[in-house]
Amino acid sequence: MTVVYDDLGDEAAEEVPMRRIRFTINGAKKIAEIEPRLLLSHLIRRGVGLTGTHMGCDTTNCGACTVLVDGKPIKSCTMLAVQVDGREVTTVEGLASMSELHPLQEGFKQEHGLQCGFCTPGMMMAAKGLLDRNPEPTEEDVRWALSGNLCRCTGYQNIVKSVLWAAEKIRAEG
């Protein structure tokens, strides 16, 4: 591996404190040297290069940046990257392999649960968090679980259907 940095002078190097963290992302173990202030979403997008996790609002409102940390959905735009030291992160890219789809991914396509696609990864990760703890959700359960994720295109009706479609498929597959 070759990494070439701009030489910003010794003073700059001293000014920026760096932290070394170890974490797992989508099953792969990683080590990163980062500024303590780096946001998890930026570690994922710019550091690891996984751009499926999107930045929408910067204030924990829209949920486009939702990922799983140790299996629980969190909004990565307001979590510091240093907080995942020793922990496990799952992003949309880790939902399934490229050749196979997770039932949530299939459900969103089958039920037209997306239009521009920008909120979709966050929606699916929040929905995964729900289905992992409640495999038989009602429509109301789904609406509540996704209430931290905003979509401007669909009106949610088909997103809810998509999640219920996935729940049904997961149950059927046992």
Partner: protein
């Protein structure tokens, strides 16, 4: 060649993904995998990052800007201010409405959030640090946050940069027949009036705006990846503003995370990133944060509507008169057809048969962000339809007439098309009363009215709101519609390869509408080539034919028509190839979906795929090889969809909170290419209508601070708040002048929906003496109206708590 003894079975159009198939979306395959390619996902070698410093004040003179500390921060490559932009003649840029807009402020800041300086650094964190290190000395000036303040005696002139601008008025404009309208009012039995403020709203796609500008000194080529709904307009504007040769500019609009009109205008961030890339000879990425997006980019609405109807006692409308005061912010930057100063506001009442109408409009500058102005709406049509349906409700109440009966009586009748509206539009077709009947049946109108009366006796407030709309979609014919002089046609380019597979490109740009899916369906309908064999590409000006982009629900009416027309050109050539292959004259060749055959011997035929192969391998003598063509479509008229939205609500008199009981939508958008996608568009539009009616708005306090500058203050409904919707597609009136009979649909529900929700709440409050509560109909406004029995205005400045 297929030489069979029996005629092959006809192709099943639905099976090949043709017209009417609810085909699953092609674009989903990448989005569900997290493999979309949005502007912020683009990383180029050596790329730098740009951040913008914005003004904290709404109106102030800039005394000095000290950037020295920013330059000292390691990792900073460039700090740009208005003064430096001015040396390149780029401190100001033209807007889409023939005004000018500051790129980086030089003399004054004119709204909170205005762009003052920019830093380009190795890393966005460093760029942000450096923005914080810039020291700007401001001399505050009094802020103006509404048209009344703007026109008050002694109001400061916001645009003192413009020679000859002595006040804050941008334009006075009028349309219609004043004399005829005055006569109608003189003859009226009843005159019904209403006054409203349609609040400032922001389209607020989840993805903010951004660009990656990449100027290559070696080739002289400028490539800009950016969040634009109209890449060709941007290319033309960059060529004119930056004085770069147009063939050396490539605008690429990659995947767009929602547009809704927000991504039509040209923003200072794009311009600065382009200049920075030219100066630094490295790619420069600028990605706006949410606050930057909400406080500085294209808003919509913010208009004061007052009007009146001249009525006969039996309910016939004789005339309509209205005046609008529009708050355009600090720069008149509306993206709208050049000819119309207040957009297509004069489409109001197009669905009603009204003999005379007159509209006056005034636009003013204020210390607020400049517009895009359209938000899921064709140039002010949302305001026009909202005013219309609020006015209709008030008039029916004043006459003591039933809401449905009053509308039915005044609708343009089915056999009266094409119908000339009093403002000169020619509506093309519709079955208005039928749509209304479908809606009333679905909501169980008569029973709800009884239930409502019973509930009243128990102190429960139920309400029902009707809203109808017809909307001029698909701008537009070149006689009337242009932006900066460029006529609003669109285009499609179809290349059929020798194996019968094809690639289609258009001048439109999908942002979630599903063009990659639906355009293939039009080709399948016209040529019998399965939709899955047609790849659709949009958004790259180096490859796409020139078009005006996607907004104002114009894609299907204009670019979609171009797709049909280019397919027909391809079919015309394929017919010649078929005649050659079948060894008969062209006149003896007949077409059925996907196949030409000999009229006298239907079993003798060739498929479109066989014709494609022949175009490259076996063309007749003298024929140009290849099976490729381009069509430019200049629509003869706008398309006029119609819809009825009916909402029932219950208002809690103790708190003012209202809940939606049921929402029914009856949309007649002509032929539906992909019913699944059309329904998705309608549900999305209804949600934005509910949002505007219930919670979503941007306002300002008396000091000019923007309230609604982030998602904690700018409320958008989530899955929890958003009601369910019942959609109806029973009524289909094909557009008589569109090649496949389709009409626009993307905006209809957002245009017609708001009045249904507001009318429902106002209906629940009937008898309380309250005529109007401005949107959003917040619980505290409802509660106040119930307490005071007065109307509640939502116009800025917001009242302070003290």
């Amino acid at each position: 060649m297929t030489e069979t003894t029996a005629r092959p079975a006809a192709l099943d159009e639905i099976k090949i993904g043709g017209l009417g198939a609810s085909r699953k979306r092609v674009e989903d395959d990448r989005f569900i995998r997290g493999k979309g390619n949005y502007t912020d996902d683009i990383t180029l070698p050596g790329m730098l990052h740009m951040e913008i410093l914005r003004s904290p004040l709404p109106h102030a003179r800039i005394k000095s800007i000290d950037t020295s500390k920013a330059w000292e921060i390691p990792g900073v490559h460039l700090v740009l201010t208005g003064e430096m932009m001015a040396t390149r003649n780029l401190a100001w840029m033209p807007t889409l409405s023939y005004d000018t807009q500051a790129v980086l402020a030089t003399d004054k800041v004119r709204f909170q959030g205005q762009e003052v300086a920019a830093v380009i650094a190795d890393d966005p964190y460093i760029a942000k640090d450096a923005c914080d290190a810039i020291d700007v000395d401001y001399e505050p000036l009094p802020p103006i946050v509404n048209p009344a303040q703007a026109q008050a005696d002694g109001a400061p002139v916001i645009r003192d940069d413009k020679e000859g601008q002595v006040n804050n008025v941008i334009y006075d404009w009028e349309v219609g027949d004043k004399t005829g309208t005055d006569r109608a009012f003189a003859q009226a039995d009843v005159i019904s009036k209403i006054e409203l403020h349609y609040p400032r709203s922001h389209p607020s796609p989840i993805e903010c705006c951004g660009s990656v500008a990449d100027f290559n000194r070696a080739t002289g080529k400028l490539t800009v990846y950016m969040t634009t709904q109209a890449p060709h307009i941007i290319r033309a504007a960059v060529a004119m503003v930056a004085e770069l040769p147009e063939q050396m500019i490539r605008i690429v609009s990659p995947d767009i995370g929602g547009g809704f009109g927000n991504k039509v205008p040209i923003y200072p961030g794009y311009v600065v990133s382009i200049l920075a890339s030219i100066l630094l000879e490295r790619p420069v990425k600028w990605i706006e944060d949410k606050t930057g997006n909400l406080i500085s980019t294209g808003f919509a609405r913010d208009i004061y509507l007052q009007g009146e109807l001249a009525l006969r006692n039996d309910g016939k409308i004789l005339g309509m008169r209205m005046h609008t005061d529009a708050d355009h912010g600090a720069f008149f930057a509306d993206a709208q057809p050049s000819k119309f100063k207040i957009g297509l506001m004069h489409s109001t009442f197009a669905a009603y048969d009204i003999p005379a109408a007159h509209l006056t409009a005034r636009g003013v500058y204020t210390n607020k962000a400049p517009g895009g102005v359209a938000y899921r709406c064709s140039f002010r049509v949302t305001e026009a339809m909202f005013f219309q349906e609020r006015m209709i409700q008030a008039a029916a109440d004043d006459l003591g007439m039933d809401q449905a009966a009053f509308r039915r009586m005044n609708f343009v009748k089915d056999d009266d098309f094409p119908h000339r509206t009093p403002f000169g539009f020619l509506t093309d077709s519709g079955q208005y009363a039928k749509c209304l009947d479908v809606g009333l049946k679905a909501i169980d109108y008569e029973n709800f009215r009884k239930e409502q009366q019973e509930a009243r006796k128990q102190g429960r407030l139920l309400g029902l709101g009707i809203s109808t709309m017809t909307e001029p979609l698909g701008a537009g014919n070149s006689r009337e519609y242009d932006i900066l002089g460029i006529k609003m046609f669109d285009s499609a380019d179809l290349k059929v390869h020798m194996t019968g597979k094809a690639i289609l490109r258009t001048g439109a740009k999908t942002q979630g509408q599903g063009h990659e899916t639906t355009w293939g369906q039009i080709v399948a309908h016209e040529l019998g080539i399965p939709a899955e064999d047609v790849t659709v590409e949009e958004g790259d000006t180096d490859t796409a034919p020139f078009g005006m982009g996607t907004y104002a629900s114009r894609s299907t009416p204009v670019a979609g028509a171009a797709v049909a027309m280019v397919s027909r050109k391809i079919r015309a050539k394929a017919r010649k190839l078929a005649a050659h292959l079948l060894e008969v004259s062209e006149e003896d060749v007949e077409w059925e979906l996907g196949r030409f055959y000999v009229r006298s011997a239907p079993e003798r035929g060739v498929t479109i795929q066989e014709c494609a192969m022949a175009a490259y391998s076996n063309m007749p003598d003298g024929m140009e090889p290849g099976l490729e063509n381009t069509a430019y479509y200049d629509p003869p008229n706008l398309t006029w969809p119609f819809a009825v939205y009916i909402v029932t609500v219950e208002v809690d008199p103790a708190t003012g909170v209202w809940d939606v009981l049921k929402t029914v939508a009856v949309d007649d958008c002509g032929v539906r290419i992909n019913p699944m996608i059309v329904e998705g568009q309608i549900m999305g539009g209804l949600t934005e209508a509910y949002a505007m009616a219930s919670m979503q708005f941007i306002t300002f306090d008396g000091d000019g601070n923007c309230v609604g500058s982030n998602y904690m203050d700018y409320l958008l409904p989530s899955a929890w708040e958003t009601p369910g919707f019942e959609l109806h597609s029973e009524v289909v009136t094909p557009c008589p002048h569109h090649p496949i009979g389709a009409k626009g649909i993307g905006e209809c529900a957002a245009v017609g929906g708001p009045a249904a929700f507001v009318n429902a709440v106002m209906d629940a409050l009937s008898g309380t003496g309250v005529r109007n509560i401005d949107m959003p109909v917040l619980p505290d406004r409802v509660w106040e109206a119930l307490q005071t029995h007065h109307d509640v205005s939502g116009a800025p400045p917001v009242r302070s708590d003290s």
